[in-house]
């Protein structure tokens, strides 16, 4: 029997369609049918300047928007060969780790809710509201931040942001302990996730799986530690690793990643306090907007501002790829530039798209209920899958 788990599900994972071939309740084959959210972002990026494409990146993995912004900005900065000032670098790390925390909270809430425990959704979203309020303070938007720019940040951090973030981070370990008490030892949770959605280490490598899905299967690979980018080499953190490759191990990996994100965030706050106030954007006016005070007083800065805003900056003709560790896996941007302000090609290496290839091997021979657990444990975001 072929069952269609249609594009409209209870609104957690977006519009993915799965064509499942069943024999009774056992799954013989599960084929994901994608494209219901295809937005033509890669085509559209060829018609917009680099800065104009940054808002589009927020809408890709909409659970971790600042992480997408970071990948984009770092890739363009690699193409240009510039590095933002230290304050911007550490602020970016801090906000990206907050984003990782927010993304994992959504994963946690929706995954456990899909499996059955609806209460957890409310707990996770309660914490997420606080993170979104912090986002709001920093850039004005709750979710689609578009806060990073090529060369730094769009605007400086507010004055007492670090205090408020510290206060929030101080409460988080208590909440995480609460969730652990609620879920981790729970016999129903263990029955639903232990031994479910198995992925072996060889399969993970062969299928190009990255992120917590791969780490749950024992692949010890984390781009922040192994190919550091954007200032991560100055931070101290552990990378959790699973052994069995089942949903429970991935759950533990992501949970521990939340704790490590808090740790990195704290180090970033300390670093920012140490650096003190400073430049939040690189003063390379060929590529980066000059500060407003200079625009109003200096003629060259005014011309640079006008040129960058009206025409865009002119990167050198070349190509660059940069992959970062998104909460879902390796998010990479490949830019081909022909010297004009619009990219010739922007390619997004999307972790959820690649990780979805593990879906079929994970559910073969299992029951239909495990299908839902598998979708949750893969932690896919359809905006990123379909771009």
């Amino acid at each position: 029997m072929t069952l269609n788990i249609g594009p409209q599900h209870p609104a957690t994972h977006g519009v993915m369609r799965v064509a499942v071939e069943l024999d009774g309740e056992t799954i013989l084959r599960a084929q994901p049918v994608l494209g219901y959210l295809h937005t033509g972002m890669e085509k559209q990026a060829e018609y917009k300047t680099y800065t104009q494409s940054i808002p589009m990146t927020d809408r890709m993995d909409y659970l971790a928007p600042m992480s997408n912004n970071l990948a984009f900005c770092l890739a363009v900065e690699k193409l240009l060969g510039i590095t933002p000032p230290p304050r911007a670098v550490h602020a970016r790390v801090m906000l990206t780790e907050m984003t990782r925390l927010a993304s994992h909270l959504v994963w946690f809430g929706t995954h456990v809710m899909d499996v059955g425990a609806v209460t957890v959704f409310f707990y996770a979203f309660r914490e997420r509201e606080r993170i979104l309020t912090l986002y709001d303070e920093v850039c004005g938007a709750r979710m689609t931040a578009t806060y990073f720019r090529v060369g730094g940040l769009a605007m400086d951090l507010p004055a007492d942001f670090l205090d408020r973030l510290s206060a929030f981070l101080d409460t988080m370990p208590g909440h995480l302990a609460e969730y652990e008490r609620l879920v981790t030892g729970n016999p129903i949770w263990l029955a639903r996730t232990k031994g479910v959605a198995l992925l072996s280490k060889q399969d993970a490598l062969a299928l190009g799986i990255t992120g917590p899905v791969a780490r749950g299967s024992g692949v010890d690979w984390d781009l922040r530690r192994d190919m550091p980018y954007g200032g991560y080499d100055e931070y101290e953190f552990d990378v959790p690793l699973g052994t069995n490759g089942d949903a429970f191990d991935r759950y533990l990996v992501r949970f521990e990643e939340m704790r490590q994100s808090i740790r990195i965030c704290r180090q970033a706050i300390a670093r920012l306090r140490e650096i003190g106030p400073g430049d939040y954007r690189l003063r390379d006016y060929k590529y980066v907007l000059p500060p407003k005070e200079l625009v109003k007083t200096s003629m060259e800065a005014l011309i640079h501002h006008f040129k960058i805003v009206a025409h865009g900056f002119f990167p050198p003709a070349g190509e660059a790829y940069l992959g970062i560790e998104n909460p879902k896996g390796e998010l990479g941007f490949y830019f081909v530039s022909d010297g004009s302000p619009r990219p010739w090609r922007m390619k997004v290496r999307s972790p959820s798209f690649t990780n979805l290839q593990a879906f079929d091997p994970m559910v073969r021979g299992r029951l239909v209920a495990d299908l839902i657990t598998t979708i949750g444990t893969l932690d896919i975001v359809l905006g990123e899958v379909d771009r």
Binding site: K43, G81, L205, G208, F353, Q357
Partner: protein
């Protein structure tokens, strides 16, 4: 462990495939180590890159198509390889002509290429010979055309403003705006 430099990778490749013309992409802003590989040698080069213990490019990260209209050959398929043990990335490029856009599939070497090649086929129309299921993946099944090619339009729909809609200088007269009403909320 000796760090794997781009020179070492090219040296190993040239000694293993002496007849194959590898060309390193040069350019001031080509930030990654990029090698051009002819399409007929792609499979053996990739198998070697994956299986050789010193190189160990175990993971294919991404596949992209690039349309270089009006340059000839028109398309390029770019493969991004990753060696986890050596912590090195390598980019391979295969030039594809417009008349017969065909490249052998690497799904036999890295099964992850399944979706990635389907996506490139979907966007550019480049056929990957030997692919188990080469069908459209992101666009609807019956879609005609290859959207990411440079001669395909963006599909921009003109937004109707008063300046570009003939005969229309005011908002639609049929649209009735309700008068603001005094809404009394219970809390008050």
């Amino acid at each position: 462990m000796i760090p794997l430099t781009p020179e070492r990778i090219e040296e190993r490749l040239r000694e293993r495939f002496p007849g194959v013309a590898f060309r390193r992409q040069s350019g001031e802003a080509v930030r990654d180590h990029t090698l051009h590989v002819p399409a007929d040698h792609l499979l053996e080069v990739c198998t070697f890159l994956r299986d050789d213990p010193e190189l160990d490019f175990a993971m294919l990260s991404w596949i992209a198509g690039v349309d270089w209209l009006p340059r000839v050959p028109r398309f390029e398929v770019v493969y991004g390889l990753l060696s986890l043990s050596r912590r090195v990335r390598l980019t391979l490029k295969v030039a594809v002509g417009e008349e017969s856009p065909r490249v052998p599939t690497v799904t036999g070497i890295w099964p992850t290429a399944d979706f990635l090649e389907r996506e490139t086929y979907d966007f550019y129309g480049i056929e990957f010979t030997g692919h188990p299921n080469l069908t459209r993946i992101l666009l609807p099944e019956g879609w005609v055309g290859w959207p990411l090619r440079k001669d395909s339009p963006l599909g921009y729909e003109e937004v109707a403003f008063t300046h570009n809609t003939p005969g229309r200088t005011k908002p639609d007269p049929g649209l009735k705006k309700l008068a603001p009403k005094k809404v009394r909320y219970r809390a008050q």
